[in-house]
């Protein structure tokens, strides 16, 4: 889609004043839902996402059970009021695809062999959308899973990069996504440094792809730190009494 909008000015500043390698504002809060086993609320620029984790619990329908491992059911859903024009509620082609890729990304990091015949439900609700919701969703799901105490090898994180007006930039905004040239969402398991989700919309040359990948990779690492900070913040108060217990413990064993 070509338009007359200038997405990047002469000084390398973007529409919202960000530099090429700058992320939008991110706010992460863990454990916000009382009835869920684990949950997370995340704001990423104009995106507002809620993720809730239930399980592991007996998989239904029963024929979907796997006797060797748990199945991960992520459900990405956009609220009808999340976008400019009212979205018809319910799963559509796009959200079914996003649910699938997020499920598969999470399966890589969760120790699914520990819970045979069960399913883990991850519900990702997009309350407000402004480009990059699948990245926001996967990031929120990662925090919610950690909050649920589900054994994982890593906390998954995601971030996008893209191309606007011929420049490779990090974390596209709404207009940049609509009128830009390409979008590259990247899901990462930061510790093992493994790509768990990678999609591309639009065209990038090999060089541009490598540059965008590098940017998104760097973005993921930044967001990963924010995830850990959010989790620590939630449980900091719990740690204090634990430390007192620890001080006593070594004496007891002597």
């Amino acid at each position: 889609m070509k338009s007359d909008i200038k997405l990047i000015d002469g000084h390398g500043k973007r529409l919202d004043g960000r530099k090429a390698d700058e992320l939008r504002k991110i706010k992460i809060e863990a454990g916000v839902l009382h009835r869920a086993d684990g949950s997370c609320y995340l704001e990423w620029g104009g995106n507002k996402v809620l993720a809730a984790v239930y399980g592991p619990r007996e998989a239904i329908p029963k024929h979907t059970q796997n006797p060797l491992k748990a199945i991960v059911n992520a459900r990405y859903n956009m609220a009808s009021f999340s976008v400019e024009d009212r979205k018809r509620p319910g799963p559509d082609r796009r959200s079914v695809e996003i649910s699938k890729v997020i499920s598969e990304a999470l399966e890589r990091v969760i120790l699914i062999e520990q819970f045979p015949r069960t399913m883990i439900n991850v519900n990702i609700e997009v309350l407000d959308a402004e480009a990059g919701t699948r990245c926001a969703g996967l990031t929120a799901a990662g925090v919610a899973l950690a909050d649920a105490g589900i054994p994982m090898i890593d906390i998954p994180v995601a971030c996008a990069a893209g191309k606007i007006d011929g420049h490779v930039v990090l974390d596209l905004g709404q207009k940049e996504d609509n009128f830009g040239d390409a979008d590259l969402p990247l899901g990462l398991a930061p510790r093992i440094n493994e790509v768990i989700l990678l999609q591309m919309d639009g065209h990038l040359t090999m060089d541009e792809f490598n540059k965008a990948f590098e940017l998104a990779h760097h973005g993921c690492l930044v967001v990963s730190e924010m995830q850990k900070k959010a989790l620590l913040e939630k449980y900091e108060s719990v740690v204090q009494p634990e430390e007192v217990v620890q001080d006593v413990q070594p004496e007891e064993s002597e």
Binding site: G31, D37, G38, G55, P56, R57, E58, L111, F115, P116, R117, T118, A146, D147, A148, G149, I150, P151, M152, I153, D154, I155, R191, I192, K228, L231, L232, Y235, V238, V239, E242, E243, Q246, P250, S253
Partner: protein, 190 residues
Amino acid sequence: MKKNNVVMPGDQLSTSEELLPGDGTFEENGIIRASRMGTYHVDEKYKRAKVQPLTSIPVILRKGDIVLARIAVTKPSMIITDIIHVIGKERSISGETNSTIHASEISQSYIKDASTEYKVGDIVRAQIIQVQPSIQLTTKGRELGAIKALCTKCRRPLVKHDNALECQNCGNKERRTIAPDYGNVDIKAL
């Protein structure tokens, strides 16, 4: 031990040469890592690395757990039940909930036909005596037995009347192996 030893999933704790992987950890290429968020402890006696969780964790059934189970099928030799809750835990059970109570595990006295002691739909408090290969329960203990039973004729709850159970709707009298606090348990509060 370090003061601030909160670990995140994936953080390195130790190596397999040094310690064994315990609760909340996993082994990967000879390195022991945390699989959940919590505080890191070493069990010196068994040389085991452990992560004491800060978050709630999935409920896994273990031998010795006291559970609430709903009777699904009754047979002369055994009762088939569905575990619905683990006492002291808030989260739902992860994994298999199908379990059985063998006729010999219902009470201390000899029971010829298990289906006379529990009926379909009853809720019992029981203890897990085996998890693998199948979950086995017992109601032999002092505090164990039915805590809620339904009349087989009209499906209303039975009421305890000096050691006998009676239906207040149809006057039907029934027998069960009951817990001492039968009828006084607030199931929703558990």
